[in-house]
């Protein structure tokens, strides 16, 4: 039997992720890169790299699902599904008992209520990037730190300060005030983490907090926010080893389920003829889609 493969691509506001799985849900390749401005060009590039990793060609991919903020900008995708559904599916793959999934990405935060591996309800933060990855990025820059530094530094804190604003700009002012008042760096950083976690906890409370709670997205790489979230939610928080991948993985798994279900029912699934050529932009992509 010829092996078949499925791909999920998650074009987030900040990072783009691709996952390739095979028929048995085995993860063959994953790539994570900065999204940048040219979504379409990047989608092609990241896909090519993941194909190299998996040592297959684009023609061997049976079905591709695109998700994330830029999901319409993936010329070679067969279907677009929201990151809400894909995250829920991806998280349930790692943690089958998940009931509440929290994802804090570059520009928004989401809470997803999951039952039997399926999304049943969700909340999303409003359109501004307050209390997200971008917030931490901006404040880290002000402090002369990298994003990776924040977590370990905050763990040294013994008297975290309260940062009352989750607005990125106002929080920066508050941070400057605290520092000029002689507050220790670690106490300020811990305060920032607490501000993010508090905001997300208030938001997801609408969905009812039930274990297992799983935390994903770029911000889930920050041990300080994980700890702060556990404190604010009052329960342990699980984090997958690669927290950025849940959306793309979910997309790939849904792609696999779509095809296997169609095969079992003897139905055919419409797919896009795939070609990873030079990306064209916006409405001129008909050539790529139709393969002309």
């Amino acid at each position: 039997m010829i092996p078949i493969y499925f791909a999920g691509i998650d074009l987030g506001s900040t990072m783009t992720k691709v996952v390739i799985v095979d028929e048995s849900e085995k993860l063959l390749a994953y790539v994570v890169q900065h999204t940048g401005a040219e979504h379409r060009r990047l989608a092609n590039k990241v896909m090519e790299e993941s194909l190299r990793q998996a040592v297959i060609t684009i023609d061997e991919i049976t079905y591709v699902i695109a998700t994330g903020y830029g999901r319409i900008n993936v010329p070679f995708a067969d279907k677009q599904i929201t990151e809400l559904t894909c995250h829920a599916r991806g998280v349930a793959h790692f943690f089958p008992n998940v009931r509440l999934a929290i994802d804090i990405g570059g520009q928004d935060a989401k809470g997803m209520k999951v039952k039997n591996g399926k999304l049943i309800d969700f909340v999303m933060s409003d359109k501004c990037a307050a209390g997200t990855g971008r917030y931490l990025e901006v404040v880290a820059h002000t402090l002369g730190l990298t994003l990776e530094d924040l977590g370990p530094i905050s763990l040294k804190s013994t008297r975290k300060v309260s940062i009352s604003s989750i607005c990125t700009i106002f929080a920066q002012q508050e941070v400057s005030n605290h520092l000029s008042a002689g507050v220790l760096l670690e106490d300020v950083v811990a305060g920032l983490h607490d501000a993010i976690a508090g905001r997300v906890a208030r938001m997801v409370r609408r969905l009812k907090i039930e274990p297992d709670v799983v935390f994903t997205g770029g911000v889930a790489k920050n041990i300080g926010v994980i700890k702060a979230l556990e404190e604010n939610l009052g329960c342990p928080v699980l984090v997958p080893s690669e927290p950025l991948l849940s959306g793309a993985l979910g997309a790939a798994l849904i792609a696999r389920e779509t095809i296997l279900k169609a095969q079992a029912e003897g139905k055919s699934v419409q797919t896009t003829r795939r070609k990873l050529g030079e990306a064209t932009f916006f409405k001129q992509d008909d050539g790529i889609l139709s393969g002309n």
């Binding site: 903020y69 599904i81 929201t82 990151e83 809400l84 559904t85 928004d108 999304l119 049943i120 309800d121 969700f122 999303m124 409003d126 359109k127």
Partner: protein
């Protein structure tokens, strides 16, 4: 006399793009045009005096630049936009402006409009917010006072016979709108959500008799046209605050969903109950405008004087029509939407949600900014919701 060359939906599109076109023609012919804000001013009385009622709306495609001097940015952007349009001279063709106590901001707007836009005739109808007997009597009183003011402005009396004739004409419009909505019960619906909104907006911008003719044309046109809306997986009911332009509905309908029914005021809300013809026409009008129109600005308690309240029974009294809409139009999901800072609708949302949970109808709540941009995050929510309801 100018005769429109386009008919049906093509005429709707033409007037949607240039809303005051027709009333400006009529004004040139010597007719009086009176603007009204929200759906509470008694337009039947204007029609009875041969005055054209013209719905005052905002423009979400234009940024608010002048109204900020009078209304703070943290209040209803729809009303701010209405005032902005007035301040920019977009309503200079109006001979009068009639407002009512729709909400506190709407009420403030009335006075601000009077002092700044200076439309020649100005009147605010102080409609009560509850439906018990005293409120109903009060409504009859304020309606009579409004009638007197309007008569003084027109220099003519509104006889009972004329008022009844106008009520019959307006009821005919209500019946035609309902007939058009009947066609949305089919799958796929014969009229899309965006087309419905445009049509309602247009009939609120031309004389009622002309609106009725237009509705008749549309009803026969959509029954035979070829490019009707496509079949979609979801059939949605849209509830909420004013939506006077199409971007949000178009975004929803760009996904796997048709908006088949609505409970909004540039939609079904003003048209789904007739005005009863009563010996004193004011009685029927008061009952219609205070009790029958279902906008959260009026609190329709089950039993106002009851000492013991039953929450779920109260919700049923207030919202069971939504369950009827969903059943009759076969809606499998509800989009609750409100323009940001609309306290009137915002406070209603938790209760509508409780009611929808009770009747097991999935719903999602969206708050938007009364702009045409930044719809991408809302699109993700709607799409996520559609994925959940399958």
């Amino acid at each position: 006399m100018v005769i429109a060359t386009k008919k049906g939906l093509a005429r709707v599109q033409e007037l949607y793009q240039d809303r005051p076109q027709r009333v400006k023609e009529l004004k040139a012919e010597g007719k009086k045009i009176i603007g009204y804000l929200c759906i509470y001013p008694v337009t039947e009385m204007m029609t009875a005096l041969d005055i054209v009622p013209y719905r005052v709306l905002g423009d979400m495609r234009e940024s608010i630049t002048k109204a900020d001097a009078y209304l703070p940015p943290v209040v209803c952007p729809f009303l701010r936009s209405c005032l902005d349009q007035g301040l920019k001279g977009k309503y200079d063709f109006l001979d009068g402006m009639v407002t009512s106590h729709i909400c506190d901001v709407g009420s403030s707007l009335s006075g601000i409009w009077h002092y700044t836009v200076k439309t020649p005739f100005h009147y605010n109808i102080d409609t009560p917010h509850t439906v018990h007997e005293t409120a109903l009597n009060q409504t009859k009183g304020v309606m009579k006072a409004f009638q007197k003011a309007l008569e003084d402005f027109a220099g003519k009396k509104i006889t009972n016979a004329k008022l009844k004739k106008a009520i019959i004409l307006h009821n005919e419009q209500r019946a035609l709108v309902r007939e058009a909505y009947e066609l949305k019960k089919q799958d796929p619906p014969l009229i899309s959500g965006a087309e419905t909104l445009k049509t309602i907006k247009v009939i609120q911008s031309i004389p009622v008799a002309e609106g009725n003719a237009l509705l008749r044309d549309i009803i026969s046109e959509v029954k035979t046209r070829k490019n009707k809306p496509a079949k979609k997986n979801a059939r949605l009911l849209v509830w909420g605050s004013i939506l006077d332009d199409t971007p949000l509905i178009e975004m929803i309908e760009s996904l796997d969903a048709n908006v088949v029914m609505d409970d909004t005021c540039v939609g079904s809300r003003p048209f789904f109950d007739d005005v009863k013809i009563t010996p004193d026409p004011i009685d029927g009008l008061a009952q219609h405008y205070l009790v029958d129109i279902k906008c959260p600005r009026t609190f329709r308690a089950r039993d106002f004087y009851a000492a013991k309240k039953n929450y779920m029974e109260d919700l049923k009294t207030r919202f069971s029509y939504l369950s009827d809409y969903a059943r009759e139009w076969k809606a499998n999901g509800v989009i609750l939407q409100s323009v940001r800072y609309c306290d009137t609708h915002g406070y209603e949302v938790p209760q509508v949600r409780d009611y929808l949970r009770e009747i097991d109808l999935p719903g999602i709540y969206l708050e938007h900014d009364y702009t045409v941009g930044a719809l991408a995050p809302l699109k993700t929510r709607v799409q996520g919701f559609l994925e959940i309801i399958g």
